[in-house]
Every structure is written in C-alpha cells, then in structure tokens.
C-alpha cells in the first residue's frame, strides 16, 4: 500500500515546493540590497553637496512626508481635515501673512507680526474701519494670469455668500457682513470697509481661506447649480500661492511642486517637490522613517518618541501649540450647576500625572483657557496645587453631595490621549466619592452628542486658528457660541470678549484677557488637562520644518 501512495506524495511535494517558491520568489537579498545601498549613498552624497553649496533649483531635493490623515478635498473655503489645511495653505496666497521666524528648535513659526503677502502694503484709516490693500503687480496665478483686486473680491464674495464656514468669522471678528463692504478701487487696490474696528482684522485677512482664487478660473468652471465652482475646486486648483498640486491620488499620495509663477521666485524654495504619502499606521510610519524611506513623519505617538530619539539618524522638531484639552462641565446639568461641585472635581485631579502619563511630558498643563504661547497667557489665576482631597470633599459636602455622585464622561474613543486622560479623571474623582463612567464613542458620534448640548461632562479640546485670546474666549465662553458646550453664560464675559475684539491697545487687551482668564478659572467650567506639543520626526539633515499658528505646515523652507 505505502509504496503506491508515494506517487501521490511526490506529486504533492512538487506542488508544495512550487507554491512555496512562488510565495518567496520575491527578490532575494543578493538582488535588492546592493541597489538599495546605492540609493542610500546617493542620498547621503546629495545631502553633503547641498549643505556645502547653495542648491540650484534642479538640485533641490524631494521631501517625502508620511501623513497620518488623508486630505478630504482642497476647496479652499470648505475643507475639514488637517491635511487639507496643510495643502491649501501652500496653494493660496492671502493678502497678508504672519511673519515667519525661526524658534530655538529651528522650526519656522508664524509670529504675531503681519507682513504683506498678496498685498505689498496696506493702510488703515484712523478710525480703524477702512483697510486699503495695495496688491503686488508681480503676483501671478499658476496659469500665468496676474492676481488682481477682482480676484480677491470674488474670494471674499465666495467666502461671504458661498457655502464656506469662514462667513462665520468675518462678521464677529472683522466686522464684514456683506460683500458690499469690499470694493475694487482699481486692478491693484482693494478696499475693505468694516462696520466696526477690530484688533483681529489682519489675523482674519491672513487666514488662508481668504487667499486669492482666480476669478477667471471660478467663472470657467461655474455651473448653474454651482455658481462658485466648488465642485471643480475640490480636487483642482489654480494656485496663487507657492505650490501647485501635480499629482492627486486620494488616500494614497499628493505631490506638490513649486508654482513657476509665484511672485517670490525660485530662490524662495528649499525643495523641488514635496510628496505627501498617506501612511495610516503609526508603527509603519516609524519603520519607514528608521529605514530612511521617508524624510518626515507626522503623527508619531508620544509614547514612541522617547524610543525613536535613541536613533541617531533621526531628528525631532517640537513646537508649543496652545491647543487646550479639557473636561467640560455643563453648567445647566445637575450636579455641575453648582460652582462648588465644579471646583471640587477640579481639585481632585492629579494634573502632573496626566502630563507625565498621557502626553509623556510633551507639553504641559495650560492652567488657563488661553494656552501657553498664546499672547497674554497667564497662569496667575490657577488655584490648584496637585490633588487636594480634603478640601475637595469639604466643598462637595457643602454643595450637598457628601457621598459624591455618579456621572457619565463623554470621550472620543479614537483619541488615545483623551481616553487615557479620562481614566486619570476617573481615578482622581473616585478619591472624593464621585463615580465617573467613561462613555467612549466614535468621533462622529461624539461630535453629534456634543452638538445636542445635553452632555453633562465631556472631553474636548480647542485650538484657535488665530493666535489671540479673543478667539479662544469667544468660541468657548460666549453665551451664544455654538461650541460653548459647557453652556456657560455671563454678560460680563461677553463684554470682555467684545472689548478684546475692538480694543487695539496691547496693555488694555492684556488686562481684558487677564480678566477673561480669571473669570473662566473662577467659574471652573473646565478641568484643564494638558496642551500637547506638536512633534515632527524627521531624518537627520532635514531642516525648514514650519508650522504656523493657524495649524498649517509651510513647505517652502523644507530641505535636506
């Protein structure tokens, strides 16, 4: 019997070996390693050359950036993702822009001074109402047509009358409610007449969402249903800014190359190409970085950074961002309607443990709604010094909850840091008899639940595009602000915010901001948790990482 079966066995063995070979006939080490080694040396030589002598445009390197999230689309006034923000920031040129300065870590950041971008110069009338911008005659769109006042006019028109969200900012912060307030004086002069003076006007006019869009391009692609050519602009652009998109593969890759008509000219660029590659998995990004296949990795988890820092081939850029993470308490819901309860829970939290264990020391406790690195930030009014169980318990008893209470804490489950912070809140509050049930929800669900304004206790964060306390206080503490999820309402606070917007004197503004920060802390609607640094990991030799306050990455200085 056995002898006859050997035939079958032989056949099977042959089949197997074929399968195994087919599965492994991937390149053998002998085939691939030499070529990769050659590529690597090429790169190293390239680096040496470029650091020794200034590169001409043909020698400028290509920078490959691994991004964690995808670009949704690039419709300038409607995109919603951070990657979309990055892309559009490099495609469109606003009238003015933040002056770029290099911080102590070598990161290019936007300072609080504004310089001309699309506008060469501007004047403000004495009453602070009329802004007259003189545009650059040399500025051109990527199709070679000049950027004129008409183009900025249609951009504002679109912003005010289209479907974008910027129209929510213009009336409150720049006193612009109607397109009639924007006037084309001549081809190169644009005049904006505000209905109130605002200290924030330049910040608003410097937002990329008001970057010049071509009137001709909009008209060429407009349809009866789509008068603003939104559809076309979602995956196409005729940029007025430093870059153009030359490859558009959603979920995969986006390639940006210098705009040949950009007014600052070829010397402005440190690279000849920036490739955004979507690499969704963090550990894959780390391995690619270590192996040298990418230049920059975004979205490296804080817990992995310490380990990656041991790799001498890598370098890290760190920058403070005033993004304030907090646990909000809804003042219309029991038991948080009592300020003593809100203060008691704030006292019971171990803030240092959260900074150490949740963001691994990459950041700090902001101790104010106006984060560290935002102008007028102060921690002067911060009353808490580590967990104070005795006082917290006493306060809770005074408020009528001697035995504590039970409450649900709403957390977005995809955000590991907030999930971790929630467990620290849970542990802290347990010490004063408050039982916290963590209600983890997918982000979309989380946002919908927040929008009901019915959640008593929720983990949220706030980052203002404009680096000014007025934005921070407006969206979170003004009575009618939709994103004021704590439903805190005090006319005195609204007055402070109004005054902050219209006051231009820096000392007065600081005083107002201090008053606002003090009120926010006194009312204790938030448990202040952390503000995390923005950390970018890169190959050694990569320089020119830039990050402006309105959250976008500037490509032009990137080089290696």
């Amino acid at each position: 019997m056995k002898v006859r079966y050997t035939n079958i066995l032989v056949v099977m063995v042959i089949i197997f070996s074929m399968i195994i070979v087919s599965c492994q006939s991937a390149p053998t080490p002998e085939e691939t390693i030499p070529t990769e080694a050659v590529q690597l040396t090429d790169e190293i030589e390239g680096v040496v050359e470029e650091t020794e002598q200034p590169a001409t445009s043909s020698e400028k390197p290509t920078i490959i950036v691994a991004i964690d999230g995808d670009i949704d689309h690039i419709e300038l006034q409607q995109f919603r993702t951070i990657a979309g923000y990055d892309a559009t920031a490099n495609l469109y040129e606003p009238l003015v822009t933040q002056k770029a300065v290099q911080d102590e870590n070598g990161v290019w950041i936007g300072s609080n001074d504004y310089v001309g971008a699309g506008a060469e110069s501007w004047e403000v009338s004495d009453d602070g109402l009329v802004y007259t911008f003189h545009l650059r005659k040399e500025a051109k769109f990527a199709d070679g047509t000049p950027v004129t006042a008409k183009d900025y006019y249609i951009t504002f028109d679109r912003a005010i009358n289209g479907n974008g969200y910027i129209k929510l900012l213009l009336p409150s912060f720049a006193g612009v409610e109607s397109i009639d307030q924007v006037k084309v004086i001549d081809d190169y002069t644009l005049q904006i007449t505000q209905n109130k003076a605002s200290s924030l006007s330049l910040i608003i006019y410097g937002f990329q969402v008001l970057g010049a869009m071509s009137e001709k391009t909009i008209k060429d692609h407009a349809t009866a249903d789509d008068p603003w050519a939104e559809t076309w602009h979602r995956n196409n652009a005729n940029p007025s800014g430093p870059y153009v998109i030359t490859s558009w593969k959603p979920g995969e890759e986006y390639v940006f190359e210098p705009n040949p008509f950009y007014w600052r000219g070829p010397d402005y660029y440190g690279n000849s190409k920036v490739i955004y590659r979507v690499i969704p998995d963090a550990s894959t990004r780390e391995q690619l970085l270590r192996a040298g296949d990418i230049d920059i990795a975004q979205g490296i988890p804080y817990k992995d950074i310490a380990d990656l820092q041991k790799d001498s081939n890598l370098t890290f850029f760190k920058i403070k961002t005033p993004r304030v993470y907090h646990a909000g308490m809804n003042v219309t819901k029991k038991p948080f309607d009592d300020v003593r309860v809100r203060k008691a829970v704030s006292m019971a939290v171990d803030y240092q443990a959260i900074v150490d264990n949740v963001i691994y020391g990459f950041g700090e406790n902001p101790k104010s709604p106006v984060g560290v690195s935002m102008p007028t930030h102060t921690d002067e009014f911060w009353p808490y010094e580590g967990p104070n169980i005795e006082d917290a318990k006493a306060l809770l008893a005074e408020a009528g909850y001697p035995d504590g209470f039970e409450v649900d804490l709403l957390v977005p489950q995809e955000d590991q840091a907030r999930m971790d912070a929630a467990t620290w809140i849970q542990a802290g509050l347990a010490t004063i008899g408050v039982k916290v049930n963590i209600n983890a929800q997918p982000t979309a669900q989380f946002n919908s639940l927040l929008d009901t304004h019915e959640q008593p206790f929720y983990m949220f964060e706030w980052y203002s595009w404009g680096n000014d306390p007025a934005f921070q206080l407006h969206w979170n503490f003004r009575c009618e602000a939709w994103t004021n999820y704590a439903l805190y309402c005090d006319p005195a606070m609204d007055k402070i915010i109004d005054d902050l917007i219209v006051t231009s004197d820096p000392d007065k503004r600081e005083e107002l901001s201090y008053q606002g920060q003090k009120m926010a802390l006194d009312t204790a609607t938030w448990i202040y948790l952390y503000q995390n640094d923005w950390v970018v990991a890169a190959q050694k030799g990569v320089t020119g990482v830039g990050f402006f306050n309105d959250l976008h990455t500037h490509f032009s200085n990137l080089t290696k």
Partner: protein, 339 residues
C-alpha cells in the same frame, strides 16, 4: 437541462431579493445611529442655522420613507451619492480603490487556495501521522495569530531587517508611475504594457501583504479540506473502491476530491468575500489604498453614503459569490438541481 435552467433562475431571483434586503437593512442601520451628518458636514464652527440649512439640502428633514425612495431611485441610476467627508462621488472614490483591494484579495486567495487545499488533503490522507500534526499546528497558528501583529512583524522582518519586501508605502515605490490602466491590477497591467520594472516593483509591494493575508485565511481552508477529505475517505464507497482495486491516484482525485470539494468550495467563497471586505488591518499596516481603509474612515466620520455603498458592495460580492458557487455545485452534483 430545463431543470438546470429553472435552478439558475430560482437562484438568481433569490440573489436579487437578498440584495434588496441588504439595501433596506443598510439604509435603516445608518439612519438609526444617533448622529447628525449635517452637523458633521457643517464643521466645528457651525451654528444651528447652518446645520438646519444642510439638513434641508441633504434631505434629512424628510420622513425616512421619502429618504429611502430617493436613495433607491439614485441607486437604480448607479448613483451612490456624494461622500460628505470628501464631497466627491462615492462611485468614483470606490472605483479608484477597488482594483487595489481586488489585486491584494486575489493574490492572497490564490496563494491560500494552492497552499491550503493540498495541505488539508495530505493531512487527511496521512491522518494522525506527523505530517498531519504539522499541518494542524500550522492551521491553528493561522487561526489564532492576530492579523495586525502578524502584519507588523512581517513588515519588521521582511522589510526593515531583511529588505526582501519593498517599503510598505502602498502599491508602488514613491516616484514610480502606475502602469496604464487596463484591469487596474498592477501586476497584469504592467505586463500588458511590457514594463518589467513596474511589474517587479508592484510584485515587491504585493507579496508580503498577500502572504500575510494568505497565512491567516489558509487556516479555515486547510481545516475544511482536511475534514471533508477525511469524511470522504472513510465513506463506504471509497472502501469498496479500494477493495475492488481502484488505483489510489484515481481514488483520491476522482472519487475522493470531487466529492470532498463541495464544502471546500463553500469555504472558498466565504474566504474570498472576507478578503474583499475584511482586510482593513492589512491595508492599514501596508498603507494599501483599498476600500477597507476607505470604509473605516467613512465609518468613523459617519459618512452615510460611503458606508452604505461599501456595505452594499460587499453584500453584492458575497451574494454573487454564493450564486456562482451554487452554479458550480449544480454542475458538480446533479442532485442539487432537483431540490
């Protein structure tokens, strides 16, 4: 023959009914979630008024039955709606991503098929021998190892340490152009274009994720092949055939395999459906631009149209697979047609 035709017709009608059922189910499930896609579309700075306006535009203020009517009407015209996350037509977005998933799924399927079925049969043939033991260990590993762990370890060993596999950045090396699109499968398209370099590059990117998936899905194939082959080999007619001196090769391949094949076929259908719809993790780790990642993003942002279309697509894949498998059954085993 008319029996066979009737059988096909019956199965086809059932298939249509199943698809319709899926449409209703998917529509209701996505609507029942306590979310507001209008708020999502309006963004974080939106006020109640803008959200109301979007609700009207998106038809969300209308009764469910009207929304369902609109939805099925669009489906009939092949319109899957726009993704609210990216504002792009879902049909286009899925269209771009399906070839990537299909290429990966097909490769993994072929490897698992040519690996799993023979292994299972050999294990059945040499039941309880050392060969059988090894195969069983292999199958147990495939069934119990976590896919994401296996993928990460695979990347670490074959890409980072050994450099056998290309960098896990998707289907091609950064900077290499896609072959001209004919089938959307890069291996085939590059060969058709006679572009050996691109073929090699596509292959270097594909083999590791494909083998990873194949390792996991070969486990159920091995198990089912082994057990059904074993059942057949123990059947009376095989014993009789042995007794009357039918040669073992004929015994195994003609009398044995053909009869053991029906449960194997069912499993193959399930496995292929799983590969088309369930390889999010491998797509994630290898940055593979397929529909799994797309569905995940859609799901986590509550992008109704995209989620509905994905579920519908996968349902259609499963239902069509079942239909095809039924046909093959009927061809293999005439009894089935007479049911």
């Amino acid at each position: 023959m008319s029996n066979f035709f009737n059988f096909i017709l019956r199965r086809f009608l059932l298939t249509i009914i199943a698809v319709f059922g899926v449409i209703i189910l998917v529509f209701l499930l996505t609507r029942l979630l306590p979310n507001n896609p209008a708020a999502l579309r309006a963004g974080p700075l939106a006020d109640a008024e803008l959200i109301k306006q979007y609700e009207r535009e998106m038809g969300l203020d209308k009764p469910l039955i009207v929304q369902f009517g609109t939805y099925t009407g669009q489906l009939m015209r092949g319109d899957l709606g726009d993704s609210w996350r990216t504002s792009q037509p879902v049909r286009e977005e899925l269209g771009i991503r399906i070839p990537a998933t299909l290429e990966l799924a097909l490769s993994a399927f072929i490897i698992a098929l040519f690996f799993g079925v023979p292994l299972g049969i050999i294990a059945a043939f040499y039941s309880d021998s050392w060969i059988d033991q090894i195969v069983r260990v292999f199958a147990t590993l495939g069934a119990s190892l976590a896919l994401f762990w296996l993928a990460l370890v695979g990347v670490y060993i074959f890409y980072y340490l050994l450099h056998w596999a290309a960098a896990p950045v998707g289907r091609l090396t950064i900077g290499i152009n896609e072959p001209p699109e004919i089938t959307g499968l890069f291996l085939i398209d590059s060969l058709l274009a006679g572009d050996i370099e691109t073929f090699k590059d596509a292959f270097n990117h594909l083999w590791l994720p494909a083998c990873t998936l194949a390792f996991i899905v070969s486990a159920p194939i091995i198990k089912i092949s082994r057990s059904s082959m074993k059942d057949v080999l123990n059947a009376d007619y095989i014993r009789t055939a042995k007794a009357i001196g039918v040669p073992p090769t004929k015994l195994l391949f003609k009398d044995g395999l053909l009869n053991a094949f029906i449960p194997i076929l069912t499993m193959l259908g399930i496995v292929f459906g799983y590969l088309m719809g369930g390889n999010l993790i491998v797509e994630q780790v290898f940055a593979w631009p397929g529909i799994g990642q797309y569905a995940w993003k859609a799901l986590s942002t509550n992008d109704f149209n995209a989620v509905q279309s994905f579920v519908l697509l996968i349902a259609v894949v499963y239902v069509s697979l079942n239909f095809i498998i039924d046909l093959i059954y009927a061809l293999i085993n005439p009894q089935i047609r007479l049911e």
